[in-house]
């Protein structure tokens, strides 16, 4: 029963949702709409599970002064502070149309935004370093990749477009690379992934794939 019931629920919900594509009737759409709403509520509820899980995983390490306990303490303190600030004056915030409380906005603008932007900006430095050290034309495939990457990078910016005489042709070649070989490969990947998703979806709906229920 412990396994049969989830499999049965998966089957019924899966069949109803797939049916939406074939039954364009408003009553049927109302049913699937209701199910989607349940799904959204469950997904939002998963945040609470995530919160509990985060505390369960990190708090014992902090208490026992385990490996990297300092980082974990920072994580938990940040979580508590952001959560408290996020909930503070919730009703007034909605009524006034303010985006958030001052403290929450301050955390977003002066802690989260710079940290997030810094992480993303560091990529430029690591790409430069990795490209210089590891991107070598060791064989035909690597050479092709190297030439395509350099061409697309160079012709995508004004300095490449503006090269006298050849700039125009570089852009045409770059567009061709993106529109023809890139698209051919992407489509093959998309179609392969879609077939895989259909097959996995069918296996889940029919109860043949049970790894999401734990074990096996």
């Amino acid at each position: 029963m412990k396994r049969t019931l989830p499999i049965l629920i998966t089957f019924v919900v899966g069949v109803i949702m797939v049916g939406e594509f074939f039954i364009p009737h408003w009553r049927y759409r109302a049913l699937t709409g209701e199910m989607l709403e349940w799904g959204i509520i469950l997904a939002a509820g998963a945040f609470i599970l995530g919160l509990i899980n985060l505390v369960q995983v990190h708090l014992p390490t902090v208490v026992q002064r385990g490996t990297d306990w300092g980082y974990k303490a920072v994580l938990l303190v940040s979580l508590a502070v952001t959560l408290t600030m996020g909930f503070a004056n919730g009703k007034e915030r909605l009524a006034s149309g303010m985006e958030a409380t001052f403290s929450y906005k301050w955390i977003f603008d002066f802690v989260y935004t710079p940290l997030s932007a810094t992480m993303f900006a560091l990529l430029a430095f690591y790409i430069a370093s990795a490209g210089f050290r590891a991107f070598r034309a060791r064989n035909a495939e690597a050479t092709l990749l190297l030439v395509a990457a350099a061409l697309v990078m160079f012709a995508s910016v004004p300095i490449g477009e503006g090269v006298p005489v050849i700039g125009e042709y570089l852009v045409v070649l770059k567009d061709w690379t993106l529109d023809v070989p890139n698209n051919a490969a992407r489509r093959a990947i998309f179609i392969g992934a879609a077939l895989g998703a259909i097959s996995t979806g069918l296996r889940v709906i029919l109860g043949l794939e049970r790894s999401h229920l734990g074990g096996e």
Partner: protein
């Protein structure tokens, strides 16, 4: 010579970092302007928005965060200017928890600039969790997915939502997307099913992924990364006299991008040159 090349190949990576820092900072300190052409994908996006009539409706899904801000915020701002200039009604929501504090003030400022009234000409529905489920639900009913807007008003009661519920009721759907959930999830979940007119502004790294959707007609326009944003700025502000134009961040960022890309290409060339020249020596 061989020793020098081997040393060059193995130089401390902090020198590479320093060079990159200079490639970014110098074009900012010494501004210059390089001309660039507009890609057909961006031109199509612009043309479709230009063809909108007063009172038409656009749904924007603003799914980006501070990390992708330099690439996508310029497009987002310019798109809002473009839409309000066309007297189009704008409904905006987001599927990213980190987006509201970033996108809502921008929408408010630009709407105010054009004298647009909240609830009548535009609204912000806020953030909804559920990722693909939420997208699927938006396809069926925006009102049910967002029963309340960001200010706690009933979405169904807003004048801007009059006659609008399912996503296909909107004239255009614009996905400003920095990843998942974003453009790809919209295309897979609802664009095909409801045959929506959809455009995308995405990060440069995602653009090659979405070009097949543009070629197949699933996206009527596509703006990729900072170059796409700069091209869109160029089109939207072409009719505005230079002295009346706001600061165009993507256009000025193109100089930084140019020098940054050039620097990486030079590193690639030098790295490979040193590799080939020293390969024989190292083997010996």
């Amino acid at each position: 010579m061989l020793d020098l090349l081997i040393r060059f190949q193995n130089m401390d990576r902090r020198w590479v970092f320093l060079g990159m820092a200079l490639a970014i900072v110098l074009p900012m300190l010494v501004p210059f302007s390089l001309p660039f052409k507009v890609d057909q994908r961006v031109q199509d996006l612009y043309d479709r928005v230009e063809a909108l009539e007063a009172g038409d409706t656009v749904y924007i899904s603003a799914d980006f965060d501070p990390g992708s801000r330099p690439e996508l915020e310029p497009f987002f701002r310019t798109h809002l200017h473009h839409l309000f200039r066309q007297d189009v009604r704008v409904v905006m929501g987001t599927l990213w928890a980190t987006a509201p504090p970033l996108v809502k003030p921008i929408l408010e400022d630009i709407a105010q600039e054009y004298g647009k009234e909240y609830g009548k000409d535009w609204t912000f529905l806020g953030y909804v969790e559920g990722k693909e489920l939420a997208i699927k639900s938006l396809g069926q009913s925006v009102r049910k997915t967002y029963p309340l807007d960001d200010r706690g008003n009933k979405t169904a009661d807003l004048a801007v939502m009059a006659g609008l519920d399912a996503m296909r009721d909107f004239d255009i759907l614009t996905s400003v997307s920095a990843g998942f959930p974003g453009t790809q999830a919209f295309v897979l979940q609802i664009q095909g099913q409801y045959n929506l007119e959809m455009a995308s502004a995405c990060t440069a790294v995602s653009a090659p992924d979405y070009i097949p959707y543009y070629q197949s007609g699933q996206l009527f326009g596509l703006s990729g990364g900072m170059p796409g944003s700069a091209q869109y700025e160029k089109l939207v502000y072409a009719s505005v006299p230079p002295e009346k134009r706001p600061r165009l961040p993507a256009t000025s960022g193109m100089n930084v991008l140019s020098i940054g890309h050039l620097y990486i290409i030079i590193l690639l060339l030098l790295g490979n040159l040193a590799f080939f020249l020293t390969r024989g020596g190292e083997e010996n």
